[in-house]
Symmetry: C2
Subunit: 352 residues, 2 copies
């Protein structure tokens, strides 16, 4: 559905099977589960570890690892710029990157609703395979469950990731200090607005695509280049930039001072937000990260970042301060300051 | 309900909150999510790693690790002998054990349906905490999503586990040979029958409880004691003993010869199966494992196993053979032999 990057499915036709939708039997663990796996998952994700078809897999990490989990329940499952499949890969890849780790291994667990068309499942599998390859992460173990019609919503995906911690880095909230610069890696609010417009059937002058993408290559470069001066990394997904900064301030017992004019927002996203009365600071992102870095290297970090696709609009958006601990304040273009609270209710459910 | 072991909730009252059911806002990633986590999860699972509240956690494994994932969608969520919470812990703990690993770390991811009573969520959290403590596995990272009413079914849980591979062991399907003994660790078919009776509201002369329990202590002992002579471990969950043995035979390119009279089945389970016309070989277990061991040590393994709670009825149920590759045959009490196929359709959906 309107994913501009999704053309490879044409080259990889769906296997011919004698069923065209998921049934409860596909979650039985028996013959039908095995046929589903043989036809789809195992033919796409060919690797020695999955081939063993044990309940789990043996891995041999060489040092400290990062470990992160997320369940994806986004609705609709197909949206401009991606689908639940690549979102589930990119989201977990990015969480590993936020730990200062190089993504390595992934578990993949499906909760399918009875009646899910096999064609949709196949398209999701293809994007998963594509996204995993792109992020150089290996799907090494998995699980498939089926729930009866009306007890799920097409497909939920859990991905749990393991990454190798980059030895040059030292990502830790305790290292954040007064004066540190707050960077954002790219223009914000794309993912949430793309989902919202798709869900509500709204059209704007130009389409808005989700920013669902992996950011680990840029992150690895930053850590290799700047080491411990990269102090904290967080991805502003649910709750957006505002919520993540509030969490950082609460945990660091410091304040954040933002400059509204510095926030990178695409014109089409900004006008969609304005028309719908939505503050882009609270809108979910899926390919953007916040970095707290030593102030003296901030400008250099920005110019390094800007070389990576998807980080072209990297910007310093503010600084850490001790003037108003646990509070995020934003200075507007005309000089006023307002408190940016954590997201209170639910702006847009099931964004990821 | 009717879980005979669940009394500790009385000693750990639910936190007082101004909401009594899950709302969409609890999945927002914002203030409500934080309040839910502060009130419940984080007060129960106190450990340094979770306290960091990052997107992931850093772990330092000392050698090879096992990695396994499962999503739990069991219905009903409370059943005689347990609930979805301890099932999600025991299931993943047992999958790690089946890899020959000592369970260490767990990720915990919830998909909650809007409207889930907080009291039920709290009871599930308490059993999770209890089961994790019992299995000495640490919950180190997590995720909470909420879906709108009618788009989920109360609660789904993904647990993904990491364990340290026991160096004395060498669990591998390739090591299974002709003549190896097939052991089952305890009486079978409890979990599936407990769920079925609860779901259908059927009552028998004596209640049937799920066998949901961790088996890793017995497994660790076996591997320490018998090392590489323990060749393969599998837990017969979905699809039961029949399906697991078929998978083993297919992968090992060998056959299995079972003795019907040797199968340990409790009288009440056997009669429930008979009345309902269900073959206990296809019924799911959650606290039983199959071990393929060198025949010469099989009797000794059984006598070791029988000392562990939940393994008292450990038995040799058959042997591996090359006479009928990829086929499981069972000899009946009166001498006949029949083929035991893999589970074909779906006997009982959403068993785990």
């Amino acid at each position: 559905m309107a994913n501009p990057t999704f053309t490879y499915s044409l080259n990889c036709p769906m296997p011919e099977l004698d069923f065209d939708a998921i049934t409860l039997g596909h979650g039985s663990g028996g013959l039908l589960t095995n046929r589903l796996l043989d036809s789809g998952v195992f033919s796409l994700f060919k690797n020695e570890k999955l081939q063993q078809r044990h309940d789990g897999v043996i891995l041999k990490p060489k040092g400290p690892i990062a470990f992160t989990t997320d369940s994806y329940v986004v609705s609709p499952i197909f949206f401009p710029g991606g689908n639940i499949g690549d979102l589930a890969i990119n989201g977990t890849v990015n969480d590993l990157a936020m730990c200062g780790a190089k993504p390595r291994y992934l578990s993949l667990s499906f909760i399918l609703e009875e009646g899910l068309p096999l064609a949709e499942f196949w398209e999701i599998l293809l994007t998963i395979e594509h996204a995993a390859k792109k992020a150089r992460i290996e799907v090494v173990t998995g699980d498939t469950k089926v729930v009866d019609r009306g007890k799920g919503d097409k497909i939920f995906i859990n991905t749990t990731g393991i990454g190798d911690v980059l030895p040059q880095g030292k990502i830790n909230i305790k290292r954040v200090e007064v004066g540190d610069a707050i960077l954002v890696s790219h223009s914000i609010a794309h993912h949430g607005m793309a989902i919202m417009l798709e869900r509500e059937g709204l059209k704007f002058e130009a389409p808005i695509f989700s920013d669902s993408r992996p950011v680990h290559v840029a992150v690895e470069h930053l850590i290799e280049q700047f080491g411990k001066d990269i102090k904290l990394l967080r991805d502003p997904t649910r709750g957006g930039v505002a919520t993540v900064l509030n969490e950082i301030c609460a945990q660091a017992n410091l304040g954040a001072e933002l400059h509204q004019n510095a926030l990178p927002i695409d014109a089409v996203v900004a006008s969609a937000c304005e028309i719908l009365g939505i503050d882009p600071l609270y809108v979910a992102n899926e390919g953007v990260f916040i970095a707290i870095v030593k102030n003296s290297i901030a400008a250099e970090v920005v110019s390094h970042l800007a070389k990576f696709p998807g980080c072209e609009r990297a910007t310093i958006i503010g600084h850490m301060t001790n003037e108003h601990p646990k509070k995020v304040l934003m200075e507007s273009g005309i000089g006023g300051r307002r408190v940016i609270n954590m997201l209170a209710g639910e702006q847009l459910p099931r964004i990821c």
